[in-house]
């Protein structure tokens, strides 16, 4: 069991809820670059929303874009990321566009849904490979960061928590032998 899992498992001891525990434990110097501000531009928020929506598209529940993940991501990158991850993230936007142009001769947002999925699935493989082999000092893969923030943002959003998952703010009771059948959603919190 790694530190993050261990932390999540003992969270009840002090009554804490651990969301995106890895974000709680990382961090070094704060150096918000000017480039980070550009993430808040409407076009970029829209772009991030489309990337997120490819990772978590609408199904029987809303997708990441509708859940507001595009606007959530810049806040996290600006306030919570280290300078190194900020750099990786911002540069990643260009890298992603270049990959799209190289493979399809079009910008990412000009691709259809299947093309977007094909492109990001390939980049995701590359990111996983990178994260598996890198040392602690080496930078993260930008798509690792994209995906992490997408998941965190979606499952803690109002739509993600209440439509994709089940959310009960005040349960009022505890039942430790509660029936489950395949297809039932997980609890959001």
């Amino acid at each position: 069991m790694n530190r993050r899992e261990a932390l999540a498992r003992v969270a009840w001891i002090m009554g804490g809820t651990v969301i995106g525990a890895n974000l709680f434990l990382e961090g070094c110097t704060r150096e918000a670059g000017k480039n980070v501000e550009s993430l808040f531009e409407p076009a970029t928020v829209d772009f991030l929303g489309d990337v997120a929506d490819t990772i978590l598209p609408p199904t029987s529940s809303p997708g990441a874009k509708e859940a507001g993940v595009g606007a959530f991501i810049p806040v996290m990158v600006k306030d919570c990321y280290t300078a190194a991850d900020q750099k990786t993230f911002v540069e990643g936007l260009t890298t992603l566009e270049n990959a799209s142009k190289k493979q399809f001769n079009r910008k990412f947002q000009e691709l259809d849904a299947n093309e977007r999925t094909e492109l990001l699935a390939a980049i995701d493989k590359e990111a996983k490979e990178h994260q598996r082999n890198k040392t602690d000092e080496e930078p993260n893969h930008y798509f690792h960061l994209f995906k992490q923030l997408t998941l965190l943002g979606f499952f803690t959003s109002e739509l993600g928590a209440t439509k994709a998952l089940r959310y009960v703010q005040i349960p009022g009771r505890y039942d430790g032998d509660y029936p489950y059948k395949k297809g039932d959603k997980a609890w959001a919190t």
């Binding site: 809820t17 969301i19 806040v75 996290m76 430790g176 997980a186 609890w187």
Partner: protein, 559 residues
């Protein structure tokens, strides 16, 4: 009566201070409770209690600014954007780490009673006799029979839920009905019982959360967000439990923003006559006078006050004649254990978020068991069913993957051990007069570490856990030791210990300072040894007992 004269002064408003105020006021004493930080009003000042996850811009996480502002808090889980206002401002109140020491403080009315872990266990005679039997530290001046009725008294008011398990090492109390184990935990407990033939036990955690309405407070709503403050008053805090009855007597004056700088000591009567405070907002100095003083400022800050008091008589401060003031600092060492996966139970889940788990009481060095270290440890943990992690190679993005991630994954089990730290004389705190806080007051320096006994114990803490989880049917069990920083247990104890001899202890068996019998120290500072269980219930019981004693002595004219 002048407006700065009271019958009793209580320093601090946390678990111990709140109990002292309740008991004193209910016995008819005009009491002033001095709290160094701001006021926190029940419900009104719990702004996060009604928020949803999406109401937080960082969804509860931590920003780089927070990490910069809270270098100590950021070392572990407490730093988060949800209840940041309940943690001390580290820039205003620094301290010195001769060796690493993680100090998680709450400077406000209610203190850490608002954020505490709420696990509530009695010490047994195994604990009260430990120092005498193995020669570490000095003998406790009390035994279980002396405190047992006061445990009952504290439990009945505070509201502790738990099962009566009938174990010698962990005496039963006056409990509200226990919370429920989930289906996996129940099966694990049964397997442990049969495997260890009744020598080891998985029991339901005993916790200061109400399982039924109690003394005007509502029962737990299973939100598992206690440390944000509870609008239902369902867990014990000063605000929910001890402050309301104290206020109701009409005998209480609560003064926030009051930093007690010293106890005023009268050389002639050999008694305290009151305290001096610094108003944290105006920097004005005031004096308050009373017949008795209860020091409940949290363990190390209580000792800080003693160290700054009566220095014209004793250079090292009030209580230092023993040579033990500031020494024998303790905590509980933890952050190691094991976890794994429980197969099956796919058709089982749970409803509600239980802010409690299972407890495995101490079994090492109990009865015939003998290890290459002394004392022991207990475990806390639970079985839960998280969301599917989504980490498989074939599927990594897209709709099918998303829908799969919206379902729960397999059951997992995790347990963490909490071990006793011996009372080492050389583990100490002292005043560093070179470093000053925002108010120009000298700060504490921390100089303590765990030693060979604890390190040997940690090996068992991990390996035993693996063995027990495997016996309980858990698969893929892995041990872990995430490393322990002294203080991380947030169970600071010792530095003004109780004892039988004024030459080797700061306090007597009634928590009176030997050198000033109308001064009582009843928080973690008084602990003679630490046991391995969560300590707060013991502070409640000792405080109520000491107030009762003080009242009797006052009646007799002995104080």
């Amino acid at each position: 009566m002048a407006d700065n004269v009271y019958d009793a002064i209580v320093i601090g408003s946390g678990i111990s201070g709140g109990w002292a105020a309740k008991e004193l006021t209910q016995k008819g004493f005009k009491t002033i409770m001095l709290e160094r930080g701001r006021n926190v009003e029940h419900v009104k000042d719990y702004p996060a209690a009604t928020k949803h996850p999406w109401d937080y811009p960082h969804r509860g996480g931590r920003t780089q600014q927070m990490i910069e502002d809270y270098p100590v808090l950021s070392r572990d889980y407490p730093l988060n954007e949800k209840n940041l206002d309940f943690w001390v401002n580290e820039k205003e109140s620094p301290y010195v780490e001769v060796k690493r020491f993680d100090w998680y403080r709450g400077y406000h009315v209610g203190g850490r009673s608002l954020m505490w872990g709420r696990q509530s266990y009695r010490h047994s005679d195994l604990d009260f006799e430990a120092n005498l039997k193995d020669g570490h530290g000095v003998d406790w001046p009390i035994r279980y029979k002396d405190i047992a009725p006061w445990y009952s008294y504290a439990e009945k008011w505070a509201g502790i839920s738990g099962n009566r398990d009938g174990l010698d090492v962990l005496p039963d109390g006056d409990f509200l009905p226990p919370m429920d184990m989930n289906i996996v935990e129940k099966d694990m407990a049964a397997r442990i019982k049969s495997h260890y033939k009744g020598k080891r036990h998985f029991i339901m955690g005993r916790v200061a959360n109400l399982t039924q309405p109690h003394e005007g407070r509502m029962n737990c709503q299973y939100q598992n967000q206690c440390w944000l403050g509870c609008n239902f008053g369902a867990y014990f805090s000063t605000q929910s439990s001890t402050l309301p009855p104290a206020v109701a007597t009409g005998n209480l004056t609560l003064r926030p923003f009051s930093i007690v700088t010293r106890i005023l000591y009268d050389k002639d009567t050999k008694r305290a006559k009151g305290v001096e405070i610094l108003d944290a907002e105006t920097n004005q100095t005031y004096e308050y006078f009373a017949k008795i003083v209860f020091v409940c400022a949290s363990a190390f800050n209580s000792t800080w006050i003693l160290m700054n008091s009566a220095t014209d008589v004793w250079e090292g401060g009030l209580g230092s004649s023993s040579g033990e003031l500031g020494h024998n600092a303790m905590d509980h060492h933890f952050r190691c254990g094991a976890g794994g996966r429980m197969e099956g139970y796919e058709d089982k889940y749970y409803f509600g978020r239980r802010a409690n788990g299972l407890y495995i009481p101490r079994y090492r060095n109990v009865g015939d068991d003998k290890r290459d270290y002394v004392r022991g440890f207990g475990y806390q943990g639970s079985a839960s069913r998280g969301r599917w992690s989504g980490e498989i190679a074939e599927m990594s993005i897209g709709g099918e993957w998303k829908d799969a991630m919206c379902e729960p994954g397999s059951w997992s089990v995790g347990f963490t051990a909490f071990g006793e730290i011996l009372p080492y004389h050389e583990n100490r705190i002292f005043l560093d007069k070179e470093v000053k806080d925002k108010w120009g007051l000298p700060v504490l320096a921390m100089d303590m570490e765990i030693k060979e006994n604890e390190l040997k114990m940690r090996k068992d803490m991990m390996e035993d856990c693996q063995e027990m989880l495997e016996a309980a049917g858990v698969k893929d069990v892995q041990t872990y030791d995430n490393g322990y920083g002294f203080g991380q247990g947030i169970h600071e104890m010792g530095t003004a210990r109780m004892g039988r001899d004024p030459k080797t202890s700061v306090l007597n068996g009634n928590n009176q300072v030997w050198d000033a019998p109308n001064v009582f120290v009843t928080d973690g500072a008084c602990m003679t040894s630490g046991a391995c269980v969560n300590p707060s219930l013991t502070y409640m019981a000792l405080t109520a007992r000491a107030v009762d004693f003080a009242a009797t002595e006052l009646q007799k004219g002995n104080l």
